[in-house]
Amino acid sequence: MNSAGEVVLSARQVVKTYGSTRALKGVDFDIHRGQVTTLFGENGAGKSTLMKILSGVESPTGGEIVLHGEPVRFDSTVAAREKGISIIHQELSLAPNLSVRDNIFMGRELRTRTGVDFAEEARQTRALMTELQEDIDPSTLVADLRLGQQQIVEIARALSVNAQILIMDEPTSALSAAEVEVLFKVIHDLTARGVSIVYISHHLEEALQVTDHAVVLRDGAIAATAERSEIDLEWIVRRMVGAGFDLGEPPAGSQQDQVALSIENVVADGVDDLSLQVRAGEIVCLYGLMGAGRTELLEAVAGRVPIESGTIRLAGQDVSGLTIAERIDRGLGLVPEDRQRDGLVQTMTVGRNLSLASIESFVRGAFLSRGAERRLVDGAIHDVRVKTAGGDAAIGSLSGGNQQKVVIGKILATGPDVILLDEPSRGIDVGAKGEVFRLLAERAKAGLAVLYSTSEVGECLSIAHRIVVMRRGRIAAEFDAGVTKETIMAASGEAVVA
């Protein structure tokens, strides 16, 4: 009856439509007791929709949910939670102004006759933190925690309700390798206790380490299902995109004799006396763990944060004291890490987002030239291959990958000599990742200097001519394209995850 592997929760022919868009087209999906089931799929394949239906956030349009052999209907997430189903969302949903303890017990405070039993809450919080091997005091404000620690708190909160089925949507996107390892241990402990896990991640290699079952979703339908032992990375990728998996190789034949960007002894918040040069036509990959200082370095170079000392030169000219706008004019642009927060203006159309950074170039007299703007937008949509109905489409109608292409296209439209990209592959699917990298390789061939950061080793060993590993605000090592993953990871201070 309670044997491991038994199906505890399943979706039967689940259909979900929004208007006339069919997000799910009759999906069968099983969750096994005490095992990890990973759902693979590109953005927009329907993963999140399916998870929302299973956790009660949304109701299915057709089909049924079967829990322990009985058809059930969840009217709300509360109803689903009462049946032991808990979900950790991709985006953090913590209140930064409250303590860790208050966040974990938010909405279900332990009551005494007169108030809240804070002591007991703190005790349970401490126990959870011990289990997660994270030394966080229950009274710490969430705002004071690193992003990775916040993710841990989020996981602790989901665990604290004693969930029997735990859905994790991209739980590792903000975690360091060490934290990921701890999370995987927790997952093993949970499954040993009979908890069933549904795991969603863009980080395929990582997911393969932890999963027992693999389910691939494509275009709202199940593309393939298999046991872990039967499959490998290639298998998943092929079924996700229906094509080979190749992020490309360093473009050959570009002239690399002029230094386009020169960072000289720069000290800034999180950056410690760092020097680095990128030549025109060269692609440099900046690898490092969370907190290694990659984002801080790129933001300092782009002018978002001031530098304390050192010099930043563009084609030999000192730009250290210039504003962001002036640096864009001189040919330096940043594609930020957080697309939603720093990259896009959600209230504007695709076209207006694309033209935003280069808007002054199509002023005619006192007014904007609509024709010139349309030409630029149409050109950019074509150049960076944004899949959209056109420049007038809402930016929110695009998938994550296409939104990322809009942010990149916006900077490319300014005609830069140097482009900085902070985690350009974050939250986009394999297909879009490949396209973004191809695009950068093409531009590099035409003389663009590219400096991109990543926390996925696989992405270093693609189009980059040179790999720079950052650690604690400094450059720990530099490699040529032929280096192995293990060498890079060792240089970054990352234990090689078995």
């Binding site: 208007g19 997430t77 939670r81 991709q90 720093d342 207006r352 904007l368």
Partner: protein, 355 residues
Amino acid sequence: MKPPDRDRQMNVGKLILEGRAFLALLVVIVVFSLLSPNYFSVSNLLTMSSHVAVYAVLAIGMLLVILNGGIDLSVGSTLGLSGVIAGALMQGVPVFGVRLFPSVWVVVIVTCAVGALIGLLNGVLVARFRVASFVATLGTLYVVRGIGLLMTDGLTYNDLGGDPALGNTGFDWLGFNKLLGIPIGVLVMIVVAAVASVLLSRTVFGRWLYSAGGNERAAELSGVPVKKVKVWVYVVSGLCAAVAGLILSSELTSAGPTAGTSYELTAIAAVVIGGAALTGGRGNVRGTMLGAFVIGFLSDGLVIVGVSAYWQTVFTGAVIVLAVLLNAVQYGRKRPRKKPADTPTDTPKTLASVA
């Protein structure tokens, strides 16, 4: 992308939703025309329009601030002070024992400059010193009103007519005269609206404003001078308040220090009824103008029909709440529901699910 058949399905509902300010105006006009035979006459419509002009000019300044994601509570006080300054100048300025009477054009320019200066103060407080716009402009609301009261000792300038012998006549021209049968105040409103409309839709500044209001961080990284934009919207708002103050005191041929009390709320209401989002980045001049007309035509209509002033307050409030509700419906619908993880609307659900 939405398939076309869904578009057709939604068309009627969408049209009603997006044209709601226009429909509301039609309903107001039709209802009051049925209730009172005098309502729908050219002369009454023009009279009401010149009342609307004051609100509309204020509201356009407010629209720019709201598009930027801020709020300007000081416009009512600025309007009052503008009237007082114009009134004081009309009474003559003592210089070295001689009383100088500046011409009306000088009065107008000085008044506008004072309005812009108050706006500049707001803008610098909000943009440079990062004071929340609500608090900064609440402060200036009190300070500016206080200055107006101090200047007049709480009294009202009743004579703004000027004297032909002193060469400063013509102040009432703004409030009483007509050009081609249209009151000057209404013409000023039309000009202000047209300029603002072109500014928003056809200039770099407009695009900067929409982007900074929609996502300041992203705009800044795209090279938009977000601070400069922020300072300027408050300057324009102050300038608009001064113009509105001139129109009002000219219409009344008097200027009291308490004029324009709570007008800032009427202006905010007009912007909101016009479909702008208080979170910034969404809204346009057309909507705001319709919003101002809805409020003005509604309250004048209630007066004409003989409804008590207390009920007017209730009706105006109800219209505002309704407008905000519809805004929520409209912007809620436009969000991509397929990937709610990207949208702020999903946060409450997320909280509920784990809490």
